[in-house]
C-alpha cells in the first residue's frame, strides 16, 4: 500500500478515525470529570547515616513511616485521621544520598502540606532521638550538671565559712576542742571535694559529652525544604486533548489495517485506490440470458 492509496482510503473512511477520536475524547473526558483532583506535598529531608556503620542502626524511611511518627505528625498538624489511612497516603523516597522525599497525597492541599511538614519535622526529631539525643538536650544536661557542681561547691564553702564564724577558736588555735577541729576538717574536705568535682567536670566529663555530641552529629537530621502542594489528577483538558489525538492516530491505524487486509474490490474507485492504476472499463455482471432479453430476443 502506497502513501497515496492510504491517503485516499483515509479520505474515504475518514469517519473511522473521527469516530474513534470522539469516543476516546468523550471517554477520557468523562473519566477526568469524575475523578477528583488530589494534591501531593513533598518535603525534603536530609538524614545522615554513617556509611561505615556496619549494622546500620537506623533507617530514616523506617523511622519516618513508623506509627510513632504518624501519631506525632497527626497531633502536630491537628488532623484527626486513622493512622493506617494516614500511612497509606505517606511515601518516603530515597536516592543514593542521605536526602529523602517525604510526600503526602491528599485531596486537601492545605492538609497535605501540613501533614508533610509535620512528618518531616517529627521524623527528623525522632530519628535523632533514637540516635542518642540531640545536641541541644546534651548541652542542657551539661549546663545542669555544671550548675549542680557549682552549687555543691558554694554550699560546702558556705558551710565552712559559717563554721569558722561560729567557732573562731577551732581554726588552728592550740588547745582547741579536738571535736570542733575534726568537724572543721570534715567541712574543709567537703569543700575540697566539691572543688575537685568542678575541676574534674570541666576537664573530663565535658570531653566525654563532646564525644557523644560528635557521635550524634553523624546521625544529624534536618528538614531541607518545606512542603508545597502540587495538583495531580482531576479535570485536565490537555489530557482530554491528548486522548482525542491518540484516538485519531488509532483510527488511522485501524483504517490502515482494514485497507491492508481488505479482501474485496467492488467499486472502480477501490480498484484505482488499491491497485494504483486507472479503471478504463467497467463491465457489468450479466448472464447471456439477460443480454438476450435486453436485445429483445425470445
Amino acid at each position: 500500500m502506497t502513501p497515496i492509496t492510504f491517503l485516499l482510503a483515509l479520505r474515504r473512511r475518514a469517519w473511522i478515525p473521527l469516530l474513534v477520536a470522539a469516543i476516546a475524547t468523550l471517554a477520557i473526558g468523562a473519566i477526568t470529570l469524575r475523578t477528583k483532583a488530589s494534591f501531593t506535598a513533598t518535603a525534603i529531608v536530609i538524614a545522615k547515616n554513617p556509611q561505615n556503620a556496619t549494622d546500620r542502626p537506623l533507617s530514616f524511611p523506617e523511622v519516618a513511616t513508623s506509627n510513632t511518627v504518624a501519631i506525632r505528625a497527626l497531633s502536630a498538624a491537628h488532623v484527626e485521621e486513622p493512622v493506617d489511612r494516614f500511612e497509606a497516603s505517606l511515601s518516603v523516597v530515597s536516592g543514593k544520598s542521605d536526602i529523602y522525599q517525604v510526600a503526602i497525597r491528599d485531596l486537601d492541599p492545605a492538609r497535605a502540606t501540613a501533614l508533610a511538614n509535620a512528618v518531616a519535622t517529627e521524623a527528623t526529631a525522632y530519628y535523632q532521638e533514637l540516635a542518642g539525643g540531640d545536641t541541644v538536650s546534651i548541652q542542657a544536661t551539661i549546663d545542669q550538671d555544671r550548675a549542680d557542681l557549682n552549687k555543691r561547691y558554694l554550699d560546702a564553702s558556705k558551710a565552712l565559712l559559717a563554721f569558722d564564724q561560729d567557732h573562731p577558736q577551732a581554726a588552728g588555735a592550740k588547745g582547741a576542742d579536738p571535736a570542733l577541729g575534726a568537724q572543721r576538717l570534715a567541712l574543709q574536705l567537703a569543700q575540697q571535694a566539691a572543688a575537685n568535682a568542678v575541676l574534674n567536670f570541666e576537664a573530663g566529663i565535658t570531653q566525654g559529652k563532646l564525644g557523644q555530641i560528635t557521635t550524634i552529629r553523624n546521625f544529624e537530621a534536618h528538614v531541607l525544604d518545606r512542603a508545597a502542594p502540587i495538583r495531580s489528577g482531576g479535570a485536565s483538558w490537555p489530557r482530554v486533548a491528548y486522548a482525542g489525538g491518540l484516538g485519531l492516530v488509532l483510527g488511522m491505524v485501524l483504517v490502515f489495517l482494514l485497507e491492508y487486509f481488505r479482501r474485496s474490490i467492488n467499486r472502480p474507485e477501490d480498484a484505482e485506490a488499491y491497485l494504483g492504476a486507472p479503471v478504463v472499463g467497467v463491465i457489468p455482471r450479466v448472464t447471456a440470458a439477460a443480454i438476450r432479453r435486453s436485445a429483445g430476443a425470445p
Partner: protein, 249 residues
Amino acid sequence: MPRDTSVVLTGATLQTPFAEAYRGLRANVNFTAIGTGVRAILVTSGASGEGKSTTVANLAILLAHAGRRVIVVDADFRRPRLHQLFTTNGHGPHAPGVDGFWHRTEEDSPRIGLAGLIAGTATFAEVAAAVEGFDNMWLIPAGAIPSNPSELLGSPQMHGLVLGLCDRADVVLLDSPPCALYADAVALTEATDGVLYVLKSGPVGVVNHVRILRQLRQGKARLLGIVMNQADAGASARYGGYHGGAPVA
C-alpha cells in the same frame, strides 16, 4: 449446467447496455492507447476466470465495428479459448457470439497457430483467419501447445512477430494466461506496447494484484488500465448502467 456470465457480442446484442459498457472501454482504449501510438495490447489478469478472453473478443469486435483493422492473437498456450469465441472463415463451424457459445468444445482447437508462427514453421496467411462477419478482423489461434510457452512468448521472434502484426493492423490484441499462475504475460510485456489488466469484481487478494501489477509495470509495455469485470449494478451505473440507453457505434 453451470451458469456462465461470459458472453460475446453479436449483431443482435450490439445495441444492449452490455455492449455499451464495452464501448466505454473501447473509447478509453482509443484515447489512452491507440491515440498515443500503442498498437499491441496485451490483455491479462491475475487469476483464471476473470474474463480476459471475453474482454479481448468483445473489445476486438467493437474496435472492428469502429473500422479499425484488428488482429486478435490467442497467446494463452495454457488454456486457449479465443477460437471457441469466434467463428472464422478458416477454423470451424461456430456461429458467432452468444448463440453458438454453448456448443463449442476444446477439441475444436486448430492444429496450427501462434506457436508455428513464432517458430517460423507457418506463415501469417496460413495461420490468421478472418473472423466471420468482418473483413477487418483476423484471429491467430494458439495452435499446437508448445512445451516451453514462456520462453517462446518472451523470445525475440515473438517480439518481431508482434511488430510485423502491427504493420498489418491498427490494433493487435493478445490474450494471455493469468499472471499469478504463469510468467507468460510478464514475458509478453516485452513484445507489446500496452497492458489491460482484467479484474473480476468481488473478493480478491489485493496484495497479490498489487504485486502482479508491479511486475507488469517492470516490462516495456505501459499499463493502460484496469478493466473491472462482473461489476455490480451500482458500480457500473456510473459508467453507463445496464438498464440505460445504448447507442450503436
